[in-house]
């Protein structure tokens, strides 16, 4: 991801590091540009600091109902401003998402073992970090849609005809929870997959199912759009009654035909009997 957004990667990293300054006392970790995966060493030092530090103040995180980030730039009618805002916000989300995942792994595995005194915060950390990740994912979807709109308004071409737009639509489809169309996942897909596998499928299933339901078309629901109409219940007894009478009609026809066949047999004891047409 960092290679795609080289112009803003540095500024985003500095911002994320500023968040860590609240926890660190002396050292300021500067991960090498373009190597966010090597922050495991930073995590280790971070955890050591957590062990040393007593007492720790509460971490205040903005865990409101909606996304916790602000738009970097206002959505201007101009396409460039919109595109740049999408890029910067996307980069920020990616960094925050990665950092929150790292913190969560540390909080779950090491805080309890080390007997850290910030246990109260440690127990809430996974939940809070999970909320951050959800916010990131929701925001990511908004970003993708924003990008799509920007590209559409710039190019003024149908979305489906452009291969790049197609890839974006595929990505948005993927983020909505459906099966990905292509085999090689992009960086966003890898991130999402890693998050889902590490957290487990049971993590927040209700929120996930709600999100997926929201992305799906309402007409794809298997539930009926309306309750069984009252007319169906009225027609059932009428249908049953008609079937009963039709069956009765068949019985009567069979009995009548059997009787007529019996009457058609001539009487051998009638000498003056002439051919009498059978009664219909």
């Amino acid at each position: 991801m960092a290679s795609r957004w080289p112009s803003v990667s540095t500024s985003v990293r500095r911002r994320s590091l500023r968040d860590q300054e609240q926890l660190e006392e002396n050292e300021v970790l500067q991960p090498a540009p373009g190597h966010l995966e090597t922050s495991s060493r930073a995590l280790g030092s971070l955890c050591r600091q957590f062990q040393r530090r007593l007492p720790l103040r509460a971490v205040s995180l903005n865990l409101g109902a909606g996304p916790s980030w602000k738009r970097l730039e206002a959505p201007e009618p101009g396409q460039q401003g919109l595109q740049a805002a999408a890029r910067s916000a996307k980069n920020a989300l990616g960094a925050v998402s990665q950092r929150s995942k790292q913190l969560q792994g540390c909080a779950e595995g090491r805080f309890e073992r080390a007997g850290c005194q910030m246990r109260g915060v440690g127990r809430n950390m996974p939940f809070m970090l999970g909320r951050i990740q959800e916010s990131c994912q929701t925001g990511t979807k908004w970003l993708v849609e924003t990008q799509v709109k920007a590209r559409r308004s710039r190019r003024e071409t149908p979305k489906d005809s452009s291969p790049h737009a197609r890839s974006l639509s595929q990505r948005s489809t993927r983020f909505s929870g459906t099966t990905p169309a292509r085999s090689t996942p992009g960086p966003w897909e890898r991130e999402r997959h890693r998050l889902s596998t590490q957290r487990g499928p049971r993590a927040h299933p209700l929120r996930r199912s709600r999100r997926e339901a929201a992305f799906r078309s309402p007409y794809s629901s298997t539930e009926p759009l309306c309750s069984p109409s009252e007319s169906d219940s009225d027609l059932e007894p009428v249908g049953a009654g008609i079937q009963h009478l039709q069956k009765l009609s068949q019985e009567l026809d069979e009995a009548i035909m059997a009787e007529e066949r019996k009457q058609a047999v001539p009487d051998p004891h009638a000498p003056h009997l002439r051919s009498v047409p059978p009664a219909p």
Binding site: A240, G241, E251, A255, V276
Partner: protein, 339 residues
């Protein structure tokens, strides 16, 4: 009329306590079906026999007439239907013999059925027991108006047949047995025609008017009662030895069907209550138009009620500036009119 035919008619209606001889009946059938000779004389001979005092002669004459109606050409029943009166046996009583009292009861019932059979032919202009059945039959293809007129006629004839109401113990002689066999034959065909008429009726029920639904519901309820009586009649038929293969198996119709029909009629009646008859509507509109708060034309009034007060002032004479007061007055006057 040929001598052989008259002889056959007289031979079929003797005072011998036995059923009419099939040989004589066959001769009469041949005369009706095989020739174009008038059947009037034959009908007169048989009608004369029904005025005999002996229950045996009367009963045998009725059985012979019934046999010719069933097995003979339609011109015989057509002739009977054209007569002003057929059998006047509603007061018949043979007190000369012991069994005369019981047999007289069945003669009265049997003669009534034959009268209804000829009357039905006159009203429907066809013998319903000989009409075509099935999806393209007469009763399944009849329109609503004819259906509502024809079904009651069939039901009246069918009720007269079921009113014969003879138990297996009362079929003690050949004449009664012959009459019962002819009635059994008619019962299957009458009920089949009725059943097809009811099927047609149900297809049309939910598209009928309220009055038509009312009539149809009465017909259906009567049909249900007839079905119950027919079941008892068929039990007697089985007891007297009629082949079971010739007896249809009757089951009760689901009661939910009757409830559904009643509910539909009730809903139609409710709609009729919400929208009052024309006469009441007319007086209601007249009362509203003369009300004090409406002085402009009706169209302007209804449109102006939805405009702000300033807009209304531009058209017509405005009596009430307050929409709430106007509406309250309208409701009050409507309430007074309905009470």
């Amino acid at each position: 009329m040929g001598s052989s035919v008259s002889k056959a008619a007289l031979e079929a209606t003797t005072d011998e306590l036995m059923e009419p001889d099939p040989k004589h009946l066959a001769d009469l059938i041949q005369y009706i079906n095989g020739t174009n000779m008038s059947v009037k004389r034959l009908a007169d001979v048989l009608s004369e026999k029904t005025r005999n005092s002996s229950w045996v002669v009367v009963f045998k004459a009725l059985v012979t007439v019934h046999h010719l109606m069933v097995h003979g050409n339609e011109r015989f029943i057509q002739h009977l239907a054209s007569r002003n009166s057929l059998f006047t046996l509603h007061n018949f009583l043979d007190k000369s013999v012991v069994e005369g009292y019981a047999m007289s009861t069945f003669i009265r019932r049997y003669s009534r059925y034959l009268n209804e059979k000829s009357l039905a032919y006159r009203l429907i202009t066809s013998d319903i027991t000989k009409t075509k059945r099935g999806m393209d039959g007469m009763m399944r293809t009849m329109n609503t108006k004819d259906l509502l007129n024809t079904l009651p006629v069939i039901q009246t004839q069918f009720d007269a047949l079921l009113n014969f109401n003879a138990s297996a113990n009362e079929l003690t002689n050949g004449i009664m047995h012959a009459a019962f066999m002819l009635l059994f034959k008619d019962s299957l065909r009458l009920f089949a025609a009725c059943n097809e008429g009811i099927l047609n009726l149900l297809d049309k029920f939910f598209h009928m008017t309220k009055n038509q639904c009312n009539t149809s519901l009465d017909i259906y309820i009567k049909f249900l009662r007839s079905t119950t009586k027919l079941a008892q009649f068929l039990k007697v038929a089985e007891q007297v030895g009629i082949d079971k293969n010739n007896i249809p198996y009757l089951t009760e119709a689901p009661s939910s069907l009757l409830e559904a029909l009643k509910q539909h009629l009730a809903s139609l009646e409710e709609k009729n209550d919400i929208f009052p008859p024309y006469s009441l509507q007319h007086s209601l509109i007249h009362s509203i138009s003369n009300s004090s708060f409406v002085k402009v034309s009706s169209s302007q009034t209804w449109f102006s009620a939805h405009k702000p007060v300033e807009a209304r002032q531009h058209g017509g004479t405005i009596i009430g500036n307050n929409l709430d007061d106007s509406l309250a007055s309208l409701v009050e006057s409507t309430h007074q009119l309905l009470n």
